[in-house]
Structures are given as structure tokens and as C-alpha cells.
Amino acid sequence: MEKMPKWADVILIPLISLLLAAILSALVILAIGENPIDAVKLMVTGALGSTYGWGYTLYYATNFMFTGLAVAVAFHARLFNIGGEGQAMLGGLGVAIICLSVPWPHWSIALLAACAASALFGAAWAAIPAYLQAKRGSHIVITTIMFNFIAAAFLNYMLVNIMKPAGSQDPATARFPEATHLPSFQSMFSTADNVVFRGAPANISFFVAVLACFVVWALIWRTRLGYEIRAYGHSETGAVYAGISPVRITIIAMLISGGLAGMMAINNVMGEAERLVLNPTEGAGFIGIAVALMGRSHPFGVFLAALLFGFLYQGGAELALWTQIPRELIVVIQALVILFTGALDNMVRMPLEKLFLGMRKRAE
């Protein structure tokens, strides 16, 4: 017998957790001497009040959809992939190599190739921790953390010593050729006399991210592999009894996860920066954790949570611009979301379960 109805599990608990995080964030804003209501108003106008704001919100949301899906897929196999940051960096390296080394005739072909390259590089970076977890029992959380640092050092080396154009002081690659530039929302949706999304970085990869949400949903709930991943995540012994190989599932789930994290690079590297710079990911890999936790590892939940964090990111940037509140407020909110939806889940869940049990008893 379920302890409480499904809607309470998927909607009520995340909402309560979010509310708690919001209340605490408001207290933090109060404590540093600013007005939380004004802050929210400013964030809403800044992030959602214009197509320019939306352009940034959706750009950030695209990043978080990829990294959120990455964490979510691994969660389904009960693996905690904390290495999205490193995998996304390597994805950026893949995109940079493919964009700079091949003279692409058109952006659409370049985008397909970049998707493949970024997914391949991200998956490759996840492959070693996956193998070590599956075959040698090394804890995936620790190895993926280590691989984040190794990725940062590796990227630093590649940019400074190998990929930097001769004579340049800046540790970054050359600009990608014109033909690989992705269409931005501005060029896609503007008409001659009505320019929208002016100067905002949102681009066509947003739709790739949405597509990825659908594909992940179909994979997890409509394929045999997805079933095996969920079965393994639910009970390892049960899965083994059903003839599912833990080694195979661990490695495949991590490869998919790393590939998704790597694909973030088509948005931030190919779509926005149009070259590879140091620290291209700016923490988006870690935000994936909050996004996946809040979205309850469901692609639709991830989609909504990514939009929310996109809003928080753009809103936070506006706050930093117009008030004394630094951008780091978003990091605090992110921490509170992870804390309440992830670590303190039982704090919200236990009283609710009691409440529903009590209500059911009274009904009987």
C-alpha cells in the first residue's frame, strides 16, 4: 500500500521544498538589508519582462536541461554523477575540435556533427569512472569529482599549450568559422520591423534540449534499456535475478549521462561563445544536480526545473546589476534547493506521510 497518493509525491513535496527554500532565501535577502519583494519584482522584470530577458533565461535553461537530464538518467540507475561539469568541459573540447578542423558548408550539418562530437567526448569522460565503478567498485561520486578537476587541468593545458592561436595572449581557441554559427532566436523570430531577442544568446540548441527531454523520456519509460536501468536502480539484486547485468547497465547509464552533459557544449560553446574559453561551463554541471532533484528525475520535471533555474540565473544577474545583492545569491538558492529537495527530503516527507495515513484511517 502506498503511503500517500502519487500526486502528493510528485507535486506537493517538491512544491513544499521549493517554498521552504524560497522562504529561507527571502530571509537571507532581508538579512543583508534588502527587500525580498522588490528583489523578486526586479528578477521577474529582468528575466521575463522582455524578449531580451527571455532570451537569456532560455539560454541558461538550455544548459541546465542538458546537465539536469544527465544527472537524472544516472539517478534512475541509482548512480550519482557529480561529474557533469567535467563532462561538459570535454564536450566543449569536442565541439571546438570539430568546428575548427572541418570546413563545414552549413550550420545544420555542423550542428549534427557537433552534437555527436560533444556527446562522444562527454561520454568518454564518463566512461572511466563508469568502468571503475562497475568493474572495480570505486565509488562513482569520488571518481567523478576527481575527474572534474582533471578535466579542468586538461582543458587548461589544451588551451594554453596547444589550441591557443599563435601570438594570442588569451587562453582560448580561435573564433569558430562563420559557417558554424548557430541561428540565434533573434535571427529566427525577428521580422524586418520587429526585432525580438535582440543580442540575447538563446539559440536553436534550445530545441535540441527540448528534443533531448523527449528522447530521454522515451528511453527511460518506453524501451527495454530504460526498463533495465530503472529496474537496476530500484533493486540491484532484483535486477540481477531478472538477468540484467549490473556492469552493462552502470556503464551504459553513465555513457548516456556523460553524453548528455557533454551536449551542453552545443549551447554555450557553439551557440554563445563561438570559441572555447577557460571554464566554459561556469558551474552549469553542478546546477544539473539541483535541477534533477527538483524535477524528480523526470524529463518533464527537469524541463520545468531548468526553466526555473534559467529564470533565477538571469534574474540574479539583473539583481547584481541594479542592487547591492551579488550574483552569489543564486548559489545560495541553488544550495537550499539541493538541501531541501535532496538531503532533507525526509524532513518534508515524514510529516506528510503521517498526515495522509491519518486521513486515510479516519476515512476508513
Binding site: V28, A31, I32, G33, F80, I82, I128, L132, R136, G137, S138, H139, V141, I142, T143, I145, M146, F147, F149, I150, A153, F154, N156, Y157, V160, N161, F286, I289, L293, Q324, I325, P326, E328, L329, I330, V331, V332, I333, Q334, A335, L336, I338, L339, G342, A343, L344, D345, N346, M347, M350
Partner: protein, 322 residues
């Protein structure tokens, strides 16, 4: 002779750079030996670094700063305990949350208190831990070999450095020679047995997490008030994770932890001093030195060179049988 002088300087800086790693590593050792994984060492150090520097800057007393640092780190420890012991949440997720909380809150509060872009004012005088000079350090420095070792390598560090290295035998003694230590190790391997013996699993684990908070607090205070003169944004720079790596490298044992931290400190000292190292035609890039602690840890974790086996009940919340 020139080589010897350089060697002494590098080793001297190794000791300075190993100290925060060692304190954080021992902090993690207490927590993980009791079965509570802690990837929030970084966050606790960062929080302590900020509050120690902030209070030392305001009051002018480094000792009050140290206390504030320890208190703030213990607060985060309490949060970790609440999430992972009381509410049986995921310890790793809780650690991640604590790291972000510290990373955001320190800058937010620093900006609100000092308006200097997320840093504290520079500390001077009584606001910093001053180096302690051993007796006769000055007069013995002329003696060949022994002189520089005594007066430059061993003497002239701040008190927290000596505290850190004294914590190694102390930790060993507590863990292996006291009843508390035996129970602490038992609770990390088989909490049910400890529970059956009538000892509180929750109490022991909270005690371990509290010790972890104190040590992380000292580590953070050392960073901001002894190694450097004030807090800057993200000043821990991954040291909490290097400490975690050292802990695995040492296979959760105190003396080995010291050697691991000295090794990783040496790598940092060498990277700081030499940048790229030219070994007769083969250049080791500085990034390799940065990545080496992590690479070594992965190799150890993979079990190709002696397998690292964590405490058996690590990461698992304890549920009493009913």
C-alpha cells in the same frame, strides 16, 4: 649548496601548504570512520575562512576569529548531521548542498558587511597568527645542513601548523587507544553491533561530525588568518577535495593521511615555484602537477596499487530494527 637552499624553501612551503590539507583530511577521517561521508569539507573550510577573517578584522583578535571560524564550520556540520543522521538523507547530496551554501553565503555576507567585492579587509598585527620562532633559531641558522633545517624548515611557522601536525598522533591515539575511538570505528563498520551493545549510534555519529566541524574550522581559519591575510572569494580553491583525495589515498588512517597530505602539499609547492618543469627535454606542464593528486587518487581507488576500502557502513543511514 644552491640546490640545498632551494630544497629547504620548497619543503618549507610544503609544510605551510600541507597544513590545511592535513586538518581537513583528519576532519574527514573522523567523520568517515564513523560512517558519515563528507564531501562538504570544502564548504566548511570556506565558511570558517570567512568568519575567522571577518571576526578577526572587526575585533582585531585572531583568537576570537578562530573561535568564530570553528563555530561557523560546526554549524554546517550540524546541518550535515541533521540531514544525514536525523533525517537519514543522502550524505553526498547534503555535502554538495553545504559546499554551495558556503560558496554563496560567504560572498553574500562579505559584500554586505565590508563592501569590498566579496573579500574581508586585510588583516594585520593581532588579527593574524604570527610565526613562532624556536629558541636559538637565529643563532643556529649559520650551522651547515642542520641550521637551515632547524631555523627555516621547522621553526617559524604559525601555531596552527604545529597544532595540525600534533593532531596526527592525537587522532591515532583517540581512534586506536580509547574506548570512544573503538566505538567510533565500530559505528562506521557495523552500527547494528554498536546499537546492540547499548551505545547510541546517533550520539557517536554526531560526536564524529562535530569533531569534523572543529578541525575544518581550524583549517579554514589557518587559510585566512595565517597562510594569507584575509578572506577572498573561493579561497579554499579545491583544497577540501584534495583533502578528500588524501584521505582515500591514506586509506582512512591518520599517519598515512599525514604523508599523503605532505605529498600533495609538495606537489602544490613545486607547482607554485617552478611552473613548467623541464626534465632533460621532457617538459612536465604545470597543469599536470595540479591534476596529479586527483589522478593518483583515481589510481588508488581503482585498486591497481593497493585497494582503498572505505568503512563498510559509510554513506548508509542507520535504521534501528523494529
Amino acid at each position: 649548496m644552491e640546490f640545498f637552499v632551494t630544497l629547504i624553501q620548497v619543503l618549507d612551503s610544503t609544510i605551510r601548504l600541507s597544513t590545511p590539507l592535513l586538518l581537513a583530511c583528519l576532519a574527514g577521517l573522523f567523520s568517515e570512520r564513523a560512517g558519515i561521508f563528507d564531501i562538504g569539507l570544502e564548504g566548511k573550510m570556506l565558511m570558517a575562512a570567512f568568519f575567522s577573517a571577518a571576526i578577526a578584522a572587526v575585533t582585531g583578535s585572531v583568537w576570537l576569529g578562530l573561535l568564530a571560524g570553528i563555530a561557523s564550520s560546526m554549524l554546517l556540520s550540524g546541518l550535515h548531521g541533521l540531514a544525514s543522521i536525523t533525517f537519514r538523507g543522502n550524505q553526498l547530496i547534503s555535502g554538495v548542498a553545504i559546499n554551495f551554501l558556503a560558496s554563496g553565503l560567504t560572498v553574500l555576507i562579505a559584500q554586505s558587511w565590508f563592501q569590498q567585492g566579496g573579500r574581508t579587509p586585510s588583516l594585520f598585527g593581532g588579527g593574524r597568527f604570527e610565526p613562532i620562532n624556536f629558541p636559538f633559531a637565529e643563532s643556529l641558522s649559520g650551522v651547515p645542513i642542520f641550521g637551515p633545517i632547524y631555523s627555516e624548515l621547522l621553526s617559524g611557522h604559525s601555531i596552527l601548523v604545529y597544532v595540525a601536525f600534533l593532531m596526527v598522533p592525537a587522532t591515532w591515539w583517540v581512534l586506536y587507544r580509547t574506548r570512544f575511538g573503538l566505538r567510533l570505528r565500530a559505528v562506521g563498520e557495523n552500527p547494528a553491533a554498536v546499537d546492540t551493545a547499548g551505545v547510541s549510534v546517533v550520539g557517536l555519529r554526531f560526536a564524529a561530525v562535530a569533531i569534523c566541524g572543529v578541525l575544518c574550522g581550524i583549517a579554514g581559519a589557518y587559510l585566512a588568518t595565517a597562510l594569507q591575510a584575509g578572506f577572498v572569494k573561493e579561497m579554499t580553491a579545491g583544497r577540501g577535495f584534495i583533502a578528500l583525495a588524501a584521505l582515500i589515498f591514506a586509506k582512512w588512517r591518520p599517519w598515512h593521511a599525514m604523508w599523503a597530505c605532505l605529498l600533495f602539499g609538495l606537489l602544490q609547492a613545486v607547482a607554485l615555484r617552478f611552473q613548467n618543469i623541464d626534465l632533460g627535454g621532457i617538459v612536465i606542464p604545470v597543469q599536470m602537477m595540479d591534476a596529479l593528486p586527483y589522478i593518483l587518487t583515481v589510481v588508488i581507488l581503482a585498486g591497481f596499487v593497493g585497494k582503498a576500502v572505505p568503512p563498510r557502513a559509510g554513506g548508509e543511514p542507520y535504521v534501528k530494527e523494529r
